[in-house]
């Protein structure tokens, strides 16, 4: 009996251990061939050539706990399913699930990551196939449609590119004007007109105009801003962008934008506004729902907004509730004539898609990538199908059909389920915005205001030290300290408080060996620059 128990325990133990440790040799798809399916053609996408009859099942892992979307049910994905003869099964999870899949050798076909600087992305060559090699082997047409700047930006140290992102905006996109600004300084139009278009562009003007608002509209909170949470809201990089704080020193090394003298003088102006009671404490603790409520009621006369596009609903509601609206005007600006350098999603994009070494049919998955990156695929995933969801108007621009628009307004769930417009967005891009007929909305004026004010921040994109290193930890602590410092500066009771908070931040930088971190940042900027030209 004892033996039996020991035996059982041993079996259980080995079973458990082997389940953890089974590390089968990945990437051994040597017997895979496309010989009897199609011959390579550089001028035609492989999905049009492929004669594979059997439906291919593709598992697609997304490294975030989202609800997995159904595939093939709505108009958009049904078209993909039909064109490529595939079935996609989405699975979602977090880093530990991804780790279990990598270490267990049980990888899906496609992996979508959220962060270019994560260790999984930095070491993608250990578990993903390079897109350059796959294109050569299975679909040379890919190199024609993939954005060259984006491909170069995402190349790893071996010179090959493993992941392809969505919403990667290149310098050309910034210059073309198709991407709208997403940060604004807005004011209630009635207040603006009643006070004779007051000036907010200089620190003095800002403080004075807020006082003027309070005198005339005692019921309004003069100045508000999007939620702060445990960060610093729009008061660090966003405000710096409005002031045109340089991204780098003249010699190309890292510039600490948070200690820029003009920026600090603007923080003083904000502090003055706080002491004048034109900024209230509650604005620093309000959560999203409370903030939304305040905007819908028009409680704030003036606002600094990070992420305008997410506020559209609030502005529309306010417009409906009142006879006025929020408009974008020139807000905090440089006192030395620097131009605003507003930012948007950069070249690093948002979601990054990889084809793993374990992909069972890498040719098919590559076909899917090409299909989605190519213009017809882009239009399909963004707007749906011509005649079903949209039509081209007389000016040759895309316009949604009336019944589609009506369903979107009346029953958003049903609309998503039926059409799936812009839901399958893993390869989408703002470039396609240019195809759409312009529509008037609460945001139009604000986006119009920002024309020509965007400036690529690529050189300082993702330069923080590699995750998991001591430098990364120090960097993170400095960020935490910075956030609390900036808010404390705005809330300082007097000049002494302001100065001592600032000097304690400076000494915190010294304690955390910031100068060493700066060297790493400079090095990373140099690497960025080499991938940009």
């Amino acid at each position: 009996m004892k033996k039996l128990i020991y035996g059982l325990a041993a079996i259980v133990a080995t079973l458990g251990l082997s389940a953890c440790g089974s590390n089968k040799d990945s990437g051994s798809n040597s017997d895979f061939s496309i010989k009897d399916r199609y011959t390579l053609n550089a001028n035609k996408p492989a999905w049009k050539l492929d004669k594979k009859k059997k439906t291919t099942d593709i598992t697609w892992y997304i490294n975030s706990d989202w609800t997995a979307l159904p595939f093939g049910k709505d108009v958009t994905t049904a078209q993909i399913k039909k064109d490529l003869n595939i079935n996609v099964k989405f699975i979602t999870g977090d880093d530990s699930k991804l780790n279990a899949m990598i270490s267990g050798g049980d990888m899906p076909d496609i992996v979508t990551l959220m962060d270019k600087t994560s260790q999984a992305a930095e070491k993608a060559n250990s578990w993903a196939s390079s897109l350059n090699d796959l294109a050569k082997k299975y679909d040379p047409y890919f190199t024609k449609v993939a954005n060259k700047d984006t491909m170069k930006w995402f190349s790893l140290s071996d010179g090959k590119t493993y992941g392809y992102p969505n919403y990667s905006n290149t310098k050309k996109d910034y210059e073309s004007g198709t991407i709208p600004v997403n940060d604004n300084f807005v004011i209630r139009e009635d207040v603006y007109d009643a006070l004779g278009k007051p000036d907010f562009t200089t620190p003095e003007g800002f403080v004075k105009s807020l006082n003027a608002i309070k005198a005339k509209y005692p019921d309004l909170t003069p100045f508000g801003f999007t939620t702060v949470g445990d960060g610093a809201g729009p008061f660090t990089d966003k405000l710096q962008d409005f002031l045109g704080v340089p991204l780098e020193k003249k010699n190309g090394s890292f510039y600490d934008r948070n200690l820029d003298p003009e920026y600090v003088s603007w923080l003083k102006a904000l502090n003055q506004a706080y002491r004048d009671k034109n900024i209230v404490d509650d604005s620093f603790t309000d959560d999203g729902a409370t903030y939304d409520q305040k905007v819908k009621q028009g409680d704030y006369a003036v606002m600094l907004v990070a992420g305008t596009s997410g506020q559209g609903g609030n502005y529309t509601d306010f417009m409906k509730n009142s006879k006025t609206r929020y408009i974008a005007i020139d807000g905090p600006s440089s006192t030395s004539g620097r131009k605003a350098t507003l930012s948007q999603t950069g070249i690093s994009g948002w979601l990054i898609n990889y084809i793993t070494k374990d992909a069972k049919d890498p040719a098919k998955v590559m076909e899917l990538f090409t299909y989605l990156i190519d213009k017809p695929g882009q239009i399909l995933t963004k707007y749906g199908i011509e005649g079903v969801t949209y039509k081209y108007n007389d000016a040759g621009k895309i316009e949604y059909l009336p019944e589609v628009k009506a369903l979107e307004k009346s029953d958003n769930d049903a609309y998503n389920k039926k059409y799936g417009i812009s839901r399958f967005n893993y390869f989408n891009n703002d470039r396609m915005n240019a195809l759409k007929a312009p529509e008037e909305s609460a945001l139009t004026q604000m986006q119009q205001w920002g024309k020509g004010k965007l400036y690529p921040h690529f050189v300082i994109e993702n330069i923080k030290p590699q995750a998991g290193t001591p430098a990364a930890r120090s960097y993170d602590q400095v960020q935490t300290k910075l956030n609390s410092t900036v808010i404390s500066l705005i809330r300082a009771k007097d000049d002494n408080g302001f100065d001592s908070t600032l000097s304690s931040y400076r000494s915190f930088l010294k304690q955390n060996k910031w100068s060493d971190i700066e060297k790493t940042l400079t090095k990373n900027m140099k690497e960025n620059r080499s991938k940009l030209n």
Binding site: M1, K2, L8, A9, V12, A13, G16, L17, C20, G21, N23, D95, S96, L98, N99, I102, S103, G104, S118, Q119, A120, K123, S126, W127, V228, G229, D230, G231, A232, V280, D281, D282, F284, T285, D286, D287, A289, T290, A467, G468, P470, A472, R473, D476, Q477, T480, N483, S484, V486, I487, S488, R491
Partner: protein
């Protein structure tokens, strides 16, 4: 030999235990193997065998971190305050509820005191933020009572955070905490009270001489569990109520690990902190067990 024979005789019964043991081995014992990540530099693309050994490096990093010690201080402060207040008050409340003779009223009191337990911190946190804001419910009440002249936002003041965390947690959990005691009291033999009444014992004497001594095992069990959980902290509550201004007093070990370990994908670091906390917690558990033995005539509650 004798044992084996007895084991064989009970084989049907023993077999019934087996699934539970296997379950424990698979889900509780084999995962202990994962502790070795605390001594490795384990990244997301590694497996157990491929990650390099780094010895005690992760522990050194943690000990040198000033934010970590700040979070330990906050955790201990908040937990000890919760222990002193949150441990005694449910006992009082339970005795008070127990002494209520009107069944209807008793049920109403119980239901109302249980309700906050069922709300998540995400909901309660949002309510608290608005209650504690400048024009919030809390300030308005204080101003109406004349205790305050000008409202201020309490969550932005780090010196008040510990109290906010402790009292809001107490408010949420106090009713739920009475359940165990009420169950214990309902099992006390009513003849004891009858006899006491015959002998002319007052209500107070009955409570101090009958109710509390008979509740002692449950009280000490609860104390042991509470003390061993001293280093555990309420992550949900912290993440909702923390802002950049009160962070110096709000950051607890759990939120620190969450920030440093998980958002940075640093499994080794997070495991090392977790292992350290577990060891300290076990030590605390043993110490309290030794102390509470006295309460129970030398009998241990857990072993």
């Amino acid at each position: 030999m004798n044992t084996l024979k007895r084991l064989y005789k009970q084989r049907q019964l023993q077999l019934m235990v087996l699934p539970g043991i296997i379950f424990m081995i698979i889900f509780n014992y084999i995962p202990i193997y994962g502790i070795i990540t605390a001594f490795k530099r384990y990244t997301i693309v590694d497996s157990m065998s491929s990650a390099p050994w780094v010895g005690l490096e992760n522990f050194k990093l943690i000990v040198q971190d000033s934010f970590f010690w700040e979070s330990v201080r906050n955790t201990l402060a908040i937990s000890l305050m919760k222990l002193f207040l949150g441990f005694a008050i449910p006992i009082f409340l339970a005795i008070m509820i127990f002494e209520v003779k009107n069944m209807r009223f008793k049920k109403i009191v119980q239901t109302i005191s249980y309700i906050p337990h069922f709300f998540s911190w995400i909901v309660l946190g949002g309510m608290l933020i608005s209650w504690l804001s400048t024009d919030g419910f809390f300030n308005q009440t204080l101003m109406a009572l004349g205790l305050m002249h000008k409202g201020n936002n309490h969550l932005l003041d780090p010196s008040q955070y510990w109290w906010i965390a402790v009292l809001s947690d107490l408010w949420k959990e106090v009713g739920w905490g009475t359940i165990l005691y009420l169950a214990g009291m309902s099992r006390i033999d009513p003849t004891l009270y009858e006899a006491a009444r015959m002998d002319g014992a007052t209500k107070m004497t009955q409570i101090t001489r009958i109710t509390i001594p008979l509740l002692a095992p449950i009280i000490s069990l609860n104390l042991i569990l509470n003390v061993s959980g001293l280093l555990g902290s309420n992550l949900d509550q912290t993440l909702v109520l923390m802002n950049s201004q009160n962070q110096s007093h709000a950051e607890v070990i759990n939120s620190f690990v969450y920030r440093m370990g998980l958002t940075q994908g640093d499994f080794s670091y997070a495991t090392a902190v977790g292992l350290g906390i577990s060891i300290v917690s076990v030590i605390l558990l043993v110490i309290t067990d030794r102390i509470t033995r006295k309460l129970n005539d030398g009998h241990s509650i857990i072993v």
